[in-house]
């Protein structure tokens, strides 16, 4: 951490960068946004925008479960993040299993699960009128990232990049046509589950900083913008990650000066990028 602090002091000798929390947030943004840019490409490819949205919502229920467990076993000292993660992974697997049964279209299934989860979470959290305590999760707070958070984030960052290197090609084939992937010896279901669980973990970890309300936009918009102008997979990834990074950095700085929520500011800037690339697409054809 010391190295990071002095590096920032050296590279960015501005007034607003002298605070420790800004340096932490900067590192957080540098770690989170590229991951979102990367994963987003596949989310948009697979039309999973709604799924990522429901993951964010189910985090609420995860918090609620954490509260119950915390009350029941105060000695264990369970942090909300772990109960959130557990619940997100659980609901992800549930959605995939029900989806396989092929009884209703995917977005219907996700809608059912997501709304039920949110309802359950709200019921538990609003008991005795104590919801205000948790409303911070709705908006998120990038400036509250602590060095321990950053360590966790760093590990996840490395893990995601590693996985993305190892499985991307197979994931892409599987998402294009399962039978075709199957004929080339790819175990389609395994990859589908792996990717969905990976998404669940990332969304859960970042939710306390980005906020439940907008987390899926941060996943979807950079990739969607990139898609407007990309002609192949490489461009798609490069633009998506760049847009996420640039939005993240400028969003952090602007939110400091405007005194606004960082996550929302970042998302707003990505929307600007979407408009821009969309304009480019229309002009270039």
């Amino acid at each position: 951490m010391h190295f990071w602090y002095s590096l920032v002091d050296f590279l960015l000798p501005f007034d607003w960068m002298q605070y420790g929390f800004m340096k932490n947030a900067l590192l957080g943004v540098l770690l989170v946004t590229p991951i979102f840019g990367l994963l987003g490409t596949m989310i948009v490819n697979n039309k999973m925008a709604f799924f990522s949205d429901s993951l964010g919502h189910s985090a609420l229920t995860g918090i609620a479960i954490g509260v119950i467990l915390g009350n029941a076993f105060p000695l264990l000292n369970i942090k909300p993040i772990w109960s959130m993660m557990f619940f997100s992974v659980l609901i992800t697997i549930a959605i995939l299993v029900v989806k396989e049964a092929n009884t209703a279209s995917t977005d219907t299934i996700i809608g059912v699960f997501s709304s039920s989860a949110v309802a359950l979470g709200l019921v538990i959290l609003t008991r005795n009128g104590g919801f205000n305590k948790y409303s911070g999760y709705l908006i998120g707070d990038f400036l509250s990232i602590s060095p321990t958070d950053l360590l966790l984030l760093g590990m996840v960052f490395v893990l995601v990049i590693l996985l993305w290197v190892l499985i991307f090609n197979k994931l892409l084939l599987a998402s294009m046509n399962p039978s075709l992937a199957r004929s080339r010896g790819i175990k389609v279901k395994q990859y589908e589950y792996l990717f969905a669980v990976m998404m669940a973990v990332i969304v859960t970890i970042s939710i306390q900083w980005v906020g439940i309300l907008i987390i899926s936009s941060l996943l979807v918009i950079p990739a969607a913008s990139s898609r407007n102008i990309a002609k192949n997979m490489r461009q798609y990834h490069i633009y998506s990650v760049l847009i996420a990074l640039v939005s993240g950095l400028s969003g952090l700085i602007l939110s400091y000066f405007w005194g606004t929520a960082t996550g929302a500011t970042i998302v707003l800037i990505t929307s600007g990028f979407f408009a821009l690339t969309f304009g480019l697409k229309l002009r270039l054809g």
Binding site: N45, N169, L172, L180, S183, M233, R234
Partner: protein, 271 residues
Amino acid sequence: MKHPICVNSDCKICESSLCCTKINNFGVKRSGIEILKNVNLHIHCGDLTAVIGPNGAGKSTLLKAILGEISHTGELQFLDANNGTTKPSMGYVPQKLDLDSTSPTSVLDLFAAAHTNLPIWFTYPKKIRDRVRESLALTHGEHLINKRLGELSGGELQRVLLALALDPVPHLLLLDEPVSGIDQKGLELFYQTVSTLRKNYDLSIILVSHDLNLVAEYANRVAFVNNKTIECCGTPQEVFTNEKVIQTFGLDWSNRFQRVEKDRVANALLV
């Protein structure tokens, strides 16, 4: 091609590591509904088996079950020349590819993703471009290499998918109406390519097609799928004169087929 007729077991002259594909008492259920039952089919390497039948008969389902994408009951065995089981490599051309036309996946991306483990969002292997050009040349599609899949025409996409299925040359080639959108010139090219491959590599091919004339000309075995099972299987001659097949496709067609067949035999005799 080393064997013109299908030998049952213990054949020692196979060139392909997949010698026989045996389907016994095969059945498929989806959402609780029986789609195929009691299917028996035996495919020898070097065979071009055409699967014909009315819409919704279960032809595509049969191919997907052989691929292992959907589960089935009964036996599906891949045997090598020594009658041991083997795991063949398969090439597959789907009947349709539900493509998102906005997807930024180029033809090169598709091939690179299939051929390498190097993540294509990061870099391409050096030689891949040449290799992809070469395999696209098989179906005369070299010029499509940098196009996005979404902007290909139906026939162009089929050419690309076929080229992909043939690279590397698989042991078992499953083609689900691969040429339904390909023009006349491409059609001839396709059948020539497949015939050459069949001869050179002792390849087993299963081809679903509604084009009975071409089936009659190129397939050496025909399986007729109807009423949830293979109702009749044999040489084109046998199948196209079968009662049930005639009922399904109409007497006219069968008569024409027999006339053409007679002409052919007569011509052959003249020569």
